[in-house]
């Protein structure tokens, strides 16, 4: 385990970094900036990062959290990396659909499917 912060659990499986939320209300407004800072710092330290963010257990997502995810996605792209989202509750997935961010992010039902979706480094392009 690389880090076990209060709100994020971050583990590594080979070259893949898996981010999970430890609290179901972790995405409330007051915590979002801190989460964003941790995720951006994580990406900054990786070369061609392959990051999966799992939303298992998360039952709320605000628009500010969406903004943070976009920032992280841009950071990952700037580092020639790939970001995947998974385990999104149907109600929260509706938020992605309404905002059309389901077109911007690569979203998968499970961690396994997210892992399998990563492209090899040689063929890798932005997102």
């Amino acid at each position: 385990m690389l880090q076990d912060a209060a709100r994020l659990k971050i583990t590594r499986d080979g070259e893949i970094v898996l981010v999970e939320f430890t609290h179901r209300k972790i995405l409330d407004e007051a915590n979002i900036a801190e989460i964003g800072d941790q995720l951006v710092a994580l990406v900054e330290n990786e070369h061609r990062p392959k990051v999966i963010i799992s939303f298992a257990g998360v039952d709320h997502l605000s628009s500010a959290a969406l903004g943070t995810l976009i920032t992280v996605n841009n950071k990952v792209r700037n580092h020639d990396g790939q970001l995947r989202l998974c385990n999104i509750h149907p109600q929260i997935f509706e938020v992605f659909v309404i905002t059309k961010l389901n077109k911007l992010f690569r979203i998968y039902p499970t961690i396994k499917e997210a892992k399998e979706s990563f492209e090899p480094q040689s063929k890798q392009s932005a997102i």
Binding site: K25, D28, E29, A30, D59, H60, L61, S62, S63, A64, L66, G67, T68, I70, T71, N74, Q91, V95, I98, T99, K100, L101, K103, L104
Partner: protein, 169 residues
């Protein structure tokens, strides 16, 4: 911690259980302009909705919309000035919940906001709150000055029962 004032106004026509709900009554809260305070507001309102068996989706929608309205009031209306306040007025009945969120700011014109789903703005990191409020609520109305928004959510468990009785008698 600042204060949270609760007042009830407007007599209910026929309260079911005034000791446990605010049936038909408008309740008012005034809280400091601090994003951390939204949770207590949501708990207060959603606990009343739960007593009337609002669906899980209704509760999710209300929490989301109140979150967004409160965040806008604190950030854009009151510019995160803790000396300013957010006023919440709400009424919960078996059929619907109405929540009014008002800030101390000068207001804005919601029609002037860009479409956050457009190709030009899809990667903007802000500007989706009102879109989500409108998508998840049955009605969203801004005051003419724009510093107050009224959110309305109908109780889908009642609506489902009504539709079931119309369909099956």
């Amino acid at each position: 911690m600042g204060r949270m004032r609760l007042e009830k106004t407007t007599a209910a026509r026929r309260p079911v259980d005034p000791s446990s709900t605010s049936h038909g009554l408008w309740c008012r809260l005034e809280i400091p302009s601090d994003p951390k305070r939204v949770e207590e507001v949501e708990e207060t309102i959603l606990s009343q909705c739960q007593r009337y068996s609002f669906t899980d989706r209704d509760l999710f929608a209300l929490k989301l919309a109140i979150d967004e309205a409160f965040a806008n009031a604190v950030k854009h209306g009151n510019r995160c000035d803790c000396d300013k306040h957010v006023r919440i007025k709400y009424r919960v009945t078996p059929r619907r919940a109405d929540v009014v969120v008002e800030d101390d700011g000068p207001g804005f014109n919601p029609a002037s906001l860009p479409d956050p789903t457009s190709d030009q703005h899809i990667e903007c990191t802000h500007g989706r709150g009102i879109l989500l409020m409108r998508a998840f609520m049955n009605n969203v109305v801004f005051s003419p000055s724009g510093n107050s928004v009224t959110l309305t959510k109908f109780n889908d468990s009642i609506r489902n029962k009504t539709e079931h009785s119309i369909a099956f008698g």
